[in-house]
């Protein structure tokens, strides 16, 4: 396997960053290859790797366009800029003449093939080239079924992303979200690009607040099927469900601890919404806040040592942090009178949240080490941010062109993509962890 020098990549990225930094923010028109996947990318990132993907040889025999999925994945990350193909007729076995690609400004190139196997499966193969240094950065083969063609494409995008940025890609992870169609509520589990959605739960009553357990095998959520909010844990592969909290009053806002052994949740046993620790095994809940105010939306910090939450104890909803055992409460938000839905990044650096500014609910980002807050959207009905497991993107719900939508954004807010999914109301996204 060819060696890869990450330093060279970093240097090149910095050079590139300087080169494109002067391009103003602009809206990218929808293009055919992307329209097929209903991914709309808008904006231009500060620092982007120019890359290209050529159509996979033999792809016509398969139902998914592998190259288009790889391209859409990399573009959606905000860290890559697509360069149209210079030449065709390449696959993973070819050693391409890289000069035309260099002329077009592509720094890297993905080639590959799709071959129908005798047993009906497809062998998806690819190779990644460093165009600048003329180096083979490796390739793999994925024998997959028709149903897992998309996953093979996401894996290829993850491979390229990791080789070129030095960080793990999140394209083969999963997201959960909820749709409402007529009077039917459905909890979906989909690919990270919103495609390939499969129903996990369908109910005539609302479903809210899905939250992935560490490892990604289970979801906790709030279902109103018993005519009140009750928290369930749901094994996604088997559909097996168990009650996590069904106490007198309302049970809501579940969030797993990093070790998966307990959850924080909001219960109204005392009459008002208060935060409790609930065992994943159904152990007796332990009350963590003792106020006569609203305390809700608890979520563990990635190290498990503290809990972020929302409280109106100061007169308006604001975000606070306390120790995991309760106590040592510190207020984190001070701008405006409505700051809710804290979502810490897995690397512990950031806290995404929703802030009301002049009546508009907008996604904001707090850098925890400095306290710096920045608005990263210009929409007015943003809800429920959730970080990608590599901490480089955020998914959130919003209204876009009069329709409910799920968006992903880079942390600088420059690259946003509207995700595909079922029609109608679409909300409550939760980005799952890396798959083991």
């Amino acid at each position: 396997m060819t060696r890869f020098d990450p330093k060279a990549q970093t240097r090149r990225r910095q050079l590139l960053g300087a080169a494109v930094a002067s391009i103003p923010l602009m809206v990218w028109p929808a293009r055919d290859a992307l329209a097929q996947f209903r991914v709309e990318v808008s904006g231009v990132g500060l620092t982007q790797f120019p890359f290209s993907v050529v159509g996979f040889r033999g792809n016509d025999a398969a139902s998914e366009d592998i190259a288009a999925i790889v391209r859409a994945d990399l573009e959606r990350s905000g860290q890559f800029r697509f360069v149209p193909a210079a030449t065709g007729g390449l696959d993973e076995t070819s050693r391409p003449d890289l000069a035309p690609w260099r002329d077009k400004g592509a720094d890297s190139l993905v080639t590959g093939s799709v071959t129908r196997l005798a047993d009906g499966r497809f062998d998806v193969r690819f190779r990644l080239w460093d165009v600048v240094r003329g180096q083979d950065l490796g390739g793999l083969s994925y024998p997959v079924t028709q149903q897992t063609l998309r996953l093979a494409a996401h894996r290829i995008a993850d491979y390229a992303y990791e080789k070129l940025t030095g960080e793990k890609g999140v394209f083969s992870t999963r997201i959960a979200y909820v749709t409402k169609a007529g009077t039917r509520y459905t909890l979906w589990v989909a690919d990270a690009d919103g495609e390939g959605a499969r129903s996990a739960l369908s109910s005539p009553e609302p479903i809210i607040s899905p939250n992935w357990a560490p490892g990604g095998a289970q979801l906790a959520y709030v279902s109103f099927e018993a005519r009140k909010p009750v928290i369930y844990a749901h094994d996604v592969a088997s559909g097996k469900r168990r009650l996590l909290a069904n106490f007198r009053g309302s049970n809501s806002a579940p969030a797993w601890s990093p070790d998966g052994r307990q959850l924080v949740a909001t219960l109204s046993l005392s009459g008002n919404a208060q935060i409790y620790l609930v065992g994943a095994d159904g152990a007796e809940p332990k009350r963590l806040t003792q106020t006569s105010s609203i305390d809700t939306e608890p979520v563990f910090s990635p190290d498990g040592k503290s809990i972020y939450f929302v409280s109106d104890r100061g007169g308006s909803p604001q975000i606070y942090r306390m120790d995991a055992g309760g106590g040592n409460v510190k207020r984190l938000t001070f701008n405006g009178n409505y700051n809710i839905s804290p979502a810490p990044s897995p690397d512990g650096r950031w806290l995404a949240f929703i802030s009301r500014v002049n009546g508009a609910f907008r996604l904001h980002l707090l850098e925890l080490s400095t306290g710096t807050v920045s608005a990263i959207s210009e929409t007015s009905a943003d809800e429920r941010p959730s970080f990608a497991p590599n901490s480089r993107m955020i998914i959130y719900a919003t209204r876009d062109k009069g329709q409910d939508a799920l968006m992903t954004t880079s942390l600088d807010g420059r690259i946003k993509s509207r995700l595909a999914g079922a029609q109608g109301d679409i909300r409550e996204p939760a980005w799952g962890p890396f798959q083991r």
Partner: protein
């Protein structure tokens, strides 16, 4: 189909606690659809088919290396059926609230009194006080606000002599607006507590 007995065995100790209301599940039938087969995504070495200088690759490297099935399909769907209980027709059962308010307006005193009387007359009836908010703001925060409204009604009912065992304050937050639309007329209709007999 899972029978009720099977559902019961799935549930943890919480089911047996005094807080759990089995009634809630009686009307619900849980249908477990056939689980999709998990197809592990294998990675194998690319053979040097063309005899060029392409390197041979090892499985399980930086591409993610997963052979676990969870990433593929692996979602088994569950369907939940609805349940509706008949309500006493003669009773007015909705209390509306002002914006950002949790106070019961004087005009609704008679609604609470009539329902309190009904509960006193029939000790077997159970009443859910279902708090609702308008659609502005976050879902979870609105759930907590709706709870605050439901709790205000519960306290008022308690002062009218209704036993705690006969009522439960719960919240639907913004999830079940009685009126669609995004204007003050709709918002005012949606800021409410519904008194629902179970």
């Amino acid at each position: 189909m899972l029978s009720l007995c099977q559902i019961k065995t799935c549930l943890p100790a919480i089911l047996r606690s005094r807080e759990f209301k089995l009634r809630a599940l009686l009307g619900a039938s849980v249908l477990a659809l056939a689980a999709c087969t998990n197809v592990p995504l294998e990675e194998v070495a690319v053979q040097d088919r063309a005899g060029t200088s392409v390197s041979t690759l090892q499985p399980g490297n930086a591409a993610g290396g997963s052979t676990s099935g969870a990433a593929g399909g692996g979602v088994a769907g569950v369907e939940v059926a609805g349940s509706d209980k008949a309500q006493p027709g003669a009773l007015n059962r909705v209390v509306f609230f002002d914006f950002d308010s949790f106070e019961i307006r004087p005009e609704f005193a008679s609604v609470l009194e009539a329902n309190a009387k009904y509960l006193a007359a029939d000790g077997s009836r159970r009443l859910a006080l279902e708090g609702h908010t308008d659609e502005r703001g976050g879902r979870e925060y609105n759930l907590a606000l709706g709870q605050k409204r439901a709790e205000a009604v519960r306290r008022a009912m308690s002062l009218l002599g209704v036993r705690d065992a006969q009522m439960e304050a719960v919240s639907f937050g913004e999830e079940k607006p009685s009126l669609g639309g995004f204007d003050e007329a709709a918002f005012a209709k949606n800021r409410r507590v519904e008194l629902t007999y179970r």
